[in-house]
Symmetry: C2
Subunit: 238 residues, 2 copies
C-alpha cells in the first residue's frame, strides 16, 4: 500500500491524554511570539531584524498571563519595533530545543504601510528580504514561511494594500506586488484585474512628481473580505 505512511513520533513516550487539569506538574516550555514584519521601501520588500551582539533575530516577546496571542504580537510590533502595523496574522507554531531550553514559538506575519512612520527602536533594522543575514534555525523557518504565505495571499486577497500608504498610484500598487513576488507584471493586465476586482476608489487628487504625466491617486475600498483570507473567524486580522 503506497500511502502516506507517517513515521512514529520522535519522542513518543506515551503521555496520557489529560482531561482538563492545569497541567502545571510537568515542566512546561517557555512561550514566545515572533513577528515577521514586512514593509516596502525603495521598491524592495524589507523585514525588521534586531541585530544584537553580531547576530540577528526576529523581534519577539513573551505573552503576559492570559494575554491573547494576537495582542502579544501587536505589543511586540509597537514596543520592540516602535511601529504600528496595518495587518497581523498568525502563521504557525513550532516547538524547538530541548529541556530546559524548550521553547514554543508562535510566528506572526505583520505588514507596515509605506505611509506610516518606519523609524525603528535602537537595535532594530530593516533588511532586504532577499538578502537576510544569518538567523537561527527557528527564525529562518518563520521568515521563510511568512514569505510563502504573503506571496500566496497576494493572489487571492487584498493583503497588498496594507503595504501601501493611504492613497497611492497604480504604479505603486503594482510595484508592491512585484516587490513581494520578485517578478515583473504586465501593466495593462494588472490594471484590468485590479479594476475588475472593484476594490479601488479613485480620489480626485493626482500626484505630480517628475517630468512626466501626473498619476491618479487611489484609495483602498475597505471591503475587508475576511472570507477570502482564510483566516480564522475569531482572529482580529488587520
Amino acid at each position: 500500500m503506497r500511502d502516506p505512511v507517517v513515521p512514529d513520533a520522535p519522542v513518543a513516550n506515551v503521555i496520557p491524554v489529560v482531561g482538563d487539569d492545569g497541567g502545571q506538574d510537568a515542566i512546561g516550555p517557555s512561550l514566545d511570539v515572533r513577528v515577521v514584519l514586512f514593509t516596502i521601501a525603495d521598491g524592495r520588500l524589507q523585514v525588521v531584524l534586531h541585530d544584537e551582539a553580531g547576530h540577528a533575530s526576529l523581534p519577539l516577546g513573551t505573552p503576559a498571563p492570559a494575554e491573547a496571542l494576537d495582542g502579544a504580537a501587536r505589543r511586540i510590533v509597537r514596543g520592540a519595533a516602535g511601529l504600528r502595523e496595518r495587518y497581523l496574522e498568525q502563521l504557525y507554531t513550532l516547538s524547538v530545543g530541548e529541556p530546559p531550553a524548550w521553547t514554543v514559538i508562535v510566528g506572526y506575519l505583520g505588514l507596515v504601510g509605506a505611509g506610516e512612520p518606519r523609524a525603528l527602536r535602537p537595535g532594530g533594522e530593516w533588511h532586504d528580504a532577499a538578502r537576510l543575514p544569518q538567523l537561527s534555525e527557528a527564525d529562518r523557518m518563520v521568515v521563510e514561511y511568512a514569505l510563502l504565505r504573503l506571496r500566496a495571499k497576494l493572489g487571492y486577497t487584498t493583503i497588498a494594500f496594507h503595504l501601501l500608504p493611504e492613497t497611492f498610484t497604480f504604479s505603486e500598487l503594482q510595484g508592491a506586488y512585484e516587490a513581494v513576488l520578485g517578478q515583473p507584471l504586465d501593466k495593462r493586465n494588472f490594471r484590468r484585474r485590479v479594476i475588475a476586482a472593484g476594490i479601488l476608489a479613485p480620489t480626485n487628487a493626482k500626484r505630480r512628481e517628475g517630468s512626466h504625466r501626473p498619476a491618479m491617486l487611489y484609495r483602498f475600498r475597505a471591503r475587508h473580505d475576511r472570507e477570502t483570507y482564510l483566516t480564522p473567524p475569531w482572529s482580529e486580522g488587520a
Copy 2:
C-alpha cells in the same frame, strides 16, 4: 482616514522583549494540542469527539518536553482515538482562560481514510460534522476553523484523497467532495476536472456492488504537491 485601525492590546502591560533567556520565571501557560479528526462514513463528514461526563470535547494531549507539536498531534490520534491518520496539518494556536487556568491550545486538522480501521477507544465517538453536540468555546472555534480550512483546501489541493480508501471509484471521490462541501456537484464537470488534473491512476480492477454497471477503480497518483498546500516547508504533512 478610513483605514484598518487596530485597537490596543487587551492587556497591554509592557513586557520587555527578551533576548533568549529561558523565560522560566513568569508562570507559564499549560499547553495542549487538540485534533479535529475527520473521516467520511455513510457519505457524511464525521468528527471524533470524546464524550465524558455528559459533555463532549476534542481529543487532546500535552506535548512531552521537547516533543515536536506534529508528533504530539500524531500521538493523540494514535493514542486517544486509536487511529492512524493519513494527513495532519496544524491549524492555529490560541490562548484561552485566565491564570492559573491559562492554556495555550494548538489546533490540528487530521484526516482518516475510509479504508482504515475506524473503531475508537472507549469514550470516543464519531459525530456528524453537521450536527455536533455542544462544545467548549475553544473546541468550537477549532472545529469551525478546521472545517473552513478543509473546505477551502478541497479547491486547490488533493487533500480529499486522504479521506478515501486506497482505491476508490469516481462516485466515491465525488461523494467525498460533496460530503465536505455540503453541496452536490455536477458529475461530468467533476470527472473532467479531476482527470485534467492528472492525479488519478486507473487500476484494472472494477467494483461490482449492486444491480448496475460496475465502476472502475482508481488510485491516487501520489504527486504530493507540498507546493500547493501552503503548508510550511518543514512540516511533515501527511
